[in-house]
């Protein structure tokens, strides 16, 4: 079974530039999550999708961050414009609808450096 795919693995940009991350969840997983992990901290949930609907985006800085999940499968997370404090690893995860819905499967993440 293929895992959660994310790209790119690394991205370096200057502040005020824009950046986008892509995620392809495990096939059949209805729920998709984007987490932000700042160095030395645990992952923090940015947004949660159930199929192609948003379940929770309460911690997403909506003035600069946006996310979409087209057709309930792939998802993209965009930052525009980026700030220095956005430097972090952006993790995508997915979980099944039944069985163990709270067991998250993570991708390898995208490490973003904002200079």
């Amino acid at each position: 079974e293929a895992g959660v795919a994310q790209s790119p693995r690394y991205k370096i940009i200057e502040k005020r530039q824009s950046v986008a991350f892509w995620c392809n969840p495990i096939s059949g997983h209805a729920t998709l999550y984007w987490y932000q992990q700042i160095l030395g901290q645990g992952p923090k949930l940015l947004i949660q999708f159930q199929n192609n609907g948003v379940v929770d985006d309460s911690q997403l800085p909506k003035d600069r961050f946006s996310a979409e999940r087209l057709k309930g499968v792939d998802s993209t997370l965009k930052i525009q414009p980026a700030k220095l404090e956005d430097s972090a690893v952006y993790l995508c995860a997915s979980s099944p609808e039944s069985g163990e819905p709270r067991k998250l499967f993570f991708g390898s993440g995208t490490q973003l450096s904002v200079l």
Binding site: Y33, Q41, P43, L45, Q48, R102, K103, L104, S108
Partner: protein, 115 residues
Amino acid sequence: DQQVKQNSPSLSVQEGRISILNCDYTNSMFDYFLWYKKYPAEGPTFLISISSIKDKNEDGRFTVFLNKSAKHLSLHIVPSQPGDSAVYFCAATSYPGTSYDKVIFGPGTSLSVIP
């Protein structure tokens, strides 16, 4: 407001001995707890979980203990092996559909197992 706490940022243990990683939580609505393991440049991987109806769950060398009255859980690794060296995240959540059903992560404990 940190709802999941791991007060030891790091831990060193000799190979073959027991590793004990601790986690405390503040929200009494949490009823399901997970431990994730993370190697550098990889996403977190699920290790073991426990429901609040149990006080112990075991999987091979890994055992998680839950003390609901103290809002405390611990992960025991016996015997510890060098390959266990990683960052361990404690996470908590509540039943799907409730107000606290997003998975909240602690800041992590970096475990080093010394050969």
